[in-house]
């Protein structure tokens, strides 16, 4: 069975598409809001684009998991996602409490996506230790 299955191919294509939308959205928002100074409703709409691209990324990931036929690899992917979500929520919760009492600097909420991405690596590492496989989906 090839590791580069249609499911994985579709996941990679969708990842490239949402990443391009995210990058274009960030650039468009910066240009239109910071440089041009568009009205608030337009600024709101433009600034939503990168955020919605990230929603697309989450949907893409979950869609890939449900489409994965290999149950062992699917289990590893779910495990990785749970660890990533737990890691992101844990760090964000602790940071939020510290921030509430002005003990740490304010961090924008969208950085939780960065924590989630770091958590994905933690999840892969955990899969490698416990199951001997990094956990990439076929």
């Amino acid at each position: 069975m090839s590791r580069f299955t249609p499911v994985r191919r579709q996941y990679l294509v969708r990842t490239l598409v949402v990443t391009a939308i995210y990058a274009a959205g960030i650039f468009a928002a910066w240009y239109l809001i910071v440089k041009v100074g568009v009205s608030r409703p337009i600024a709101f709409g433009v600034a939503l684009i990168p955020g919605l691209a990230m929603v697309g990324m989450f949907y893409n990931t979950l869609s890939m998991i449900t489409a994965t036929q290999d149950e062992f690899m699917r289990m590893l992917a779910v495990r990785q996602q749970l660890i990533a979500a737990g890691f992101a929520l844990a760090v964000a919760s602790v940071w939020g409490c510290l921030e509430m009492f002005d003990l740490v600097e304010h961090v924008e909420a969208f950085y939780i996506v960065v924590l989630w991405a770091i958590g994905l690596f933690v999840g892969q590492f955990s899969n490698r230790i416990t199951h001997g496989v990094w956990g990439e989906c076929p």
């Binding site: 069975m1 036929q69 149950e71 062992f72 690899m73 289990m75 199951h131 001997g132 496989v133």
Partner: protein
């Protein structure tokens, strides 16, 4: 859960990849089942039993 997958595969001189291809799963899945790191679902256990022409009880053993 213990299993006789490695022995049965060796008797047929199949590699892990060849068994994986017959089961339509990844080689990593076969390895994880053989080494006891993963217990397959009932549908996959039936597929494994079918591939070897045995019953589930003849392949998978209670701890």
């Amino acid at each position: 859960m213990k299993n006789r997958l490695r022995v049965l595969r060796a008797e047929r001189e199949w590699s892990q990849q060849q068994l994986a291809d017959r089961l339509e799963v990844s080689r990593q899945s076969v390895n994880a089942i053989e080494t006891g790191k993963y217990d397959p679902s009932l549908p996959l256990a039936f597929r494994i039993a079918d591939v070897f022409g045995l019953t589930i009880e003849q392949i998978f053993l209670r701890d």
